[in-house]
Subunit: 268 residues, 2 copies
């Protein structure tokens, strides 16, 4: 039997990454671990996030995974090196792919980043972009309200627009032409972000979704499913807490109902 | 030496309770524990919150406290009974006092509750209010966006007003005359909540702050500081994580700068 791909995130946002992987590599088996008992990572110190990331990775290793995707931007920013040096399997984060896609998309060399406070403070996107091309100008801005807005499904209308206007203001002042969504929750707001950015800047802006960018990276490691040969892979979901609103939030990120899915609550 | 009062909360919001206790009982020594590595509790399952609450209480017991204040509404809602049966000292939650103050304030017998999803789901306010007076009509509504708005200090202006309008709509439809703020973060938004509620209802509404109500309960247990005899008590702050924005958020809730305070990061 083929080994599964392991994916972890602080919570359920990383299901947007699982969804993108399933779409591109539909025969792969996935094991997703959402650390819902300790979400969010974005407001925690680097030391704490590293400790949590190691615990998640070790739990997934016990499912004999062949590849680990760190679907959490905060954990990718502070714990990727540590995980890569500890694990014998490939470990892929979401920041390098997002940074690479941003560099590829920009014409002006001015790239905006929207991310959690933890990811912004880590400077991980700046470093990743400058490793690609050190002439780039990078402007990173935390957008803390986007997480609860995405979780509540409050993704269009006046409140998300006003929040977007507040967070995008400094990026518009910096005259960016590309914005990387550096948090797995933000793609749910991408329509609003796109419209408000274009309004503020007076021209179109490229929005880079790091989940999509990560899937493109995986094509270097995995073989895409040949058309017509699909035998759909399985998806197993492990969570460290299973609150009442779980199904509601999970189905938003996964883009499908959670009924019939294999969901298991575990202790870490 | 007099024993200190122990206070815990999922994060820093409970510092609003510590602040109210310090104002009323200025000679008391306080030890505050903020479980900042696992905040928020409001989105977790009851079982997980009980486990976390016991860990917080046990840590504070090692500081030889004489009284425990559970400053977290979510933990008060699901773990108070368990803590009271385990501990030999008085354990005071924030829900009973808030419920009692709500019952005392209402004229129409129609009380609204704004709280986290976890507190609303627990039904703890309904039960506490009905223990006081079973003829009361209680309408509880989660207001998840208020937490990040309070933490960001985004407490006035169009976005908090629109969020308040969304959350208060159902309470206005229910024609309440009193609203209990059932989350330690919400008092920072109380001006906006008060204004929007009055706007929607067309008349004034009493806003009950459960932190203040809890301090009133403590007067049954503690002796208020006699005027002129104040020797200020100490405040020790323990946190399970110390992220970069800690001082910024803590000083908002405490209403004073955090420089010079005794703050220590601990493992639970």
């Amino acid at each position: 039997m083929a080994k599964p791909i392991g994916i972890f995130d602080s919570g359920l946002g990383g299901l947007t990454v699982a969804r993108a992987i399933r779409t591109a590599f539909s025969t792969e088996d996935l094991v997703y671990l959402g650390d819902t008992a300790r979400v969010p990572y974005g407001t925690r110190s680097a030391g704490t996030v590293v400790k949590y990331a190691i615990a998640c990775a070790e739990r997934l290793l016990s499912s004999d995974i062949k590849l680990l995707v760190v679907a959490c931007n905060t954990a990718s920013g502070v714990a990727l090196g540590e995980l890569q040096s500890r694990l014998d399997i490939p470990v892929v984060g979401v920041i390098e792919p997002g940074a690479r896609a941003g560099v590829k998309a920009t014409r002006s060399g001015r790239i905006g980043i929207l991310a959690t406070a933890g990811t912004v403070a880590s400077g991980a996107y700046e470093r990743a972009i400058h490793r690609e091309n050190d002439t780039m100008n990078v402007f990173a801005r935390p957008a803390p309200l986007f997480v609860p807005l995405a979780e509540e499904g409050w993704v269009t209308g006046e409140v998300p627009r006003l929040a977007a206007r507040r967070y995008l203001g400094p990026l518009a002042d910096a005259d960016v032409d590309t914005i990387v969504l550096g948090c797995t929750h933000y793609p749910l707001l991408s329509k609003t972000i796109h419209e408000v950015a274009a309004e503020l800047l007076g021209h179109d802006v490229t929005i880079v979704d790091s989940a999509q960018a990560t899937v493109e990276t995986l094509t270097d490691i995995l073989t895409p499913t040949p058309p017509g040969l699909e035998l759909p892979g399985s998806l197993r979901i492990l969570v460290t807490d299973l609150p009442g609103q779980f199904g509601f939030a999970a189905s938003r990120f996964l883009g499908q109902p959670t009924q019939g899915l294999d969901i298991q609550a575990i202790d870490l």
